[in-house]
């Protein structure tokens, strides 16, 4: 396998595996720390954790340039981290501090940074999908060669904005990746109870665009599948719907969630046995492409970076209530 693309050069398997590993470890450790801090009461608000789904964000983001835009979801930390957001500003935002990405105005569900193509997480299910279509429209309008990716879940694929956006992107032939992270649940409702089809990718046929299914626990597979869609989009061949079958290790909200037994422990265990990071490490080491020590070092340096970011966030000043009305409008 030799993977080369604009912006990110993966001339060898090893480079790609290191890249995917790094993105996934960063997401995992960010999320586990965030979950602990929120549930201990140290951090305000509530969180939708991305743990378990890391291979999707890592695989997709490893195909994109900084200038390519993504729109994310309520479960958006993983997308932000994988797109290159920095831990300090992210934790500061989760703490509601003035040094956060949104200066404490947005919180967990509104991390954004246009510089790295993070056009925003979104508290409304499906809300970001048409916005990604607009970002892609802007790329075509300016002929900058950019693509836009919209992330949403199996639940999000039931809302009107998905269907309108998919059709719009198709009919205007825009460079859009519609990335469905099918984790099997719309909040607490199983897929079989919220749609009559097994594969969300089938919906692509309704819009005359390709729909592809990929193992969402295999970051390399997600990377390869997405790369083909990105190349298609950049070549002016329009959008692709990518369905990544994945799983949410924690609850809809938080780590412990509401403790409602809506899915069986057996099911959780089966999916956890396919932990995307463990699978990638095993493969990389087995194939002799990475050393165990390298993997361990990544976890350790990331732990340290998380600790630094939390310390930064905790030491950061609260927003000034006198600035409450700032930025309601652009003046």
């Amino acid at each position: 396998m030799s993977l080369t693309q604009d912006g990110l050069q993966f001339t060898a398997d090893r480079d790609l595996l290191i890249d995917l590993h790094r993105r996934m470890v960063r997401i995992r450790l960010f999320e586990e720390a965030a979950g602990r801090l929120m549930e201990s009461g140290a951090m305000p608000g509530f969180l939708h954790l991305y743990v378990g789904q890391e291979a999707v964000a890592a695989g997709v983001m490893s195909t994109l340039r900084d200038s390519d835009q993504i729109t994310s979801t309520h479960r958006g930390h993983g997308h932000a981290v994988a797109k290159g957001a920095n831990f300090r500003q992210m934790f500061a935002e989760l703490y509601g501090k003035s040094t956060g990405y949104c200066h404490g105005r947005g919180g967990s569900m509104h991390i954004n940074d246009l510089e790295i193509g993070m056009l925003g997480a979104n508290g409304i299910v499906g809300g970001g999908i048409p916005i990604a279509v607009g970002a892609a429209f802007a790329s075509v309008y300016r002929q900058d060669g950019g693509v836009a990716a919209a992330f949403f879940g199996d639940g999000g694929s039931n809302i009107g904005s998905f269907h309108e956006a998919a059709n719009m992107a198709a009919v205007l032939n825009l460079p859009v990746l519609l990335v469905c992270e099918n984790n099997g649940y719309a909040e607490f409702t199983a897929q079989a109870d919220h749609m009559k089809i097994k594969d969300v990718a089938d919906r692509a046929a309704g819009y005359g665009i390709p729909g592809v299914i990929v193992d969402g626990m295999d970051a390399v597979a997600v990377h390869q599948t997405t790369l083909a869609a990105v190349e298609r989009a950049r070549a002016g061949e329009g959008p692709t719907l990518i369905e990544a079958k994945t799983y949410r290790f924690y609850d809809h909200q938080g780590v412990k969630g509401l403790r409602i037994p809506y899915r069986s422990q057996d099911e959780v265990d089966i999916w956890k046995a396919r932990d995307p990071i463990t699978m990638l490490e095993r493969r990389a080491i087995d194939e002799g492409l990475m050393q165990q020590a390298e993997c361990t070092a990544m976890w350790e340096t990331t732990h340290a970076e998380v600790a630094d970011a939390i310390a930064f966030a905790e030491a950061s000043p609260e927003p000034d209530a006198a600035d409450l009305l700032q930025d309601v409008y652009t003046s």
Binding site: Q69, T71, G100, Y101, C102, H103, G104, R105, G106, H110, N112, D113, L114, L119, G120, N122, G123, I124, G127, I129, P130, I131, A132, V133, G134, A135, A136, F137, A138, S139, Y141, R142, A148, G160, S161, E164, A165, N167, M168, V171, L172, Q326, D327, V328, Y329, T330
Partner: protein, 345 residues
Amino acid sequence: MSTQTSDLQATATAIETPPQRQLTYVKAFNEGVAQMMRTDPDVFLVGEDVAGYGGVFHMFDGLKNEFGARRVVDTPISEAAIIGLGVGAAARGLRPICDLMFMDFLGVCMDQVVNQAAKMKYMYGGTVSVPLTITTAGGAGVGASAQHSQSLEAWLAHVPGLKVAMPSDAYDAKGLIVAAIRDDNPTIVVLNKLLLGAKSHVPEELYAIPFGQAKIVRPGRDVTVVAIGRMVTEARAAAELLAAEGIEVEVVDPRTVQPLDTATIVESARRTNRVLVVHEAVTFGGIGAEIAAQIQDEAFDYLDAPVLRVGAPFSPVPFSPVLEKAYVPDAQRILAGCRRLLERG
């Protein structure tokens, strides 16, 4: 003098001293959009039938021919995706104009307007601006019934982050759409369907009417009528009728309901001591309630009577011409409102 000679003389006079150029409301609006598209290559237009058909009320006639399919884009009937496309493109620095045909269709894209466009600037910590313009048409009186006739400006004015313009004549239709397109915030320009053919003086050059600056359409000393959108026309008619009785009505047109020029309204209220607020929207919870409250906050001691409101009754817009006529506020109801105010104190 024969008719023919008279016509020739009239033509000659016109050439020597051109009269003020008169344009219809819809043509003035169209000119504003076209001039902005000529001025700023980042301005583009998307919506249903805006390109080939020129817009449901022909407000975009000729734009496809002049600016091409790249900048004037027909879309599927997908209001959420139309506005969402605008939000995404605007966040990336373009200046989209998204047409929503009828104001009632806000109902199918409200998430993009209220939760996305309006809030991006604030919830993303000031890092993103959304210079999006939404154009739409509101108002009753054309037999379009309940789902194509509403005046929903109060919905929009209630949401921090949005700006809402309600042009009441051709001059304002051009000046307000230009200001809206130049604005770095999401703006909604609400045209009125019954005003589309109304003519007034419209300068040829590009001009903008600043948002949040009311216009005293007609000065008067006895009663202030704050009128929104097409109700300015009705208020002027009522003022003419009352002028014949020696009652001088001041008509104030806020032009934009968000931001609202409270200062001009309050200043007028302090001079006339009596205020009637008029809009086509249902009275309950309408923008008139806000205006009345603000007047009472800032001019209570100057009032000789409570601030009164004239609006539509609390029902959907009916279809039958008889019922619709009974529904929509008009000059007679404004006149009656003024009399009630004058009877006090």
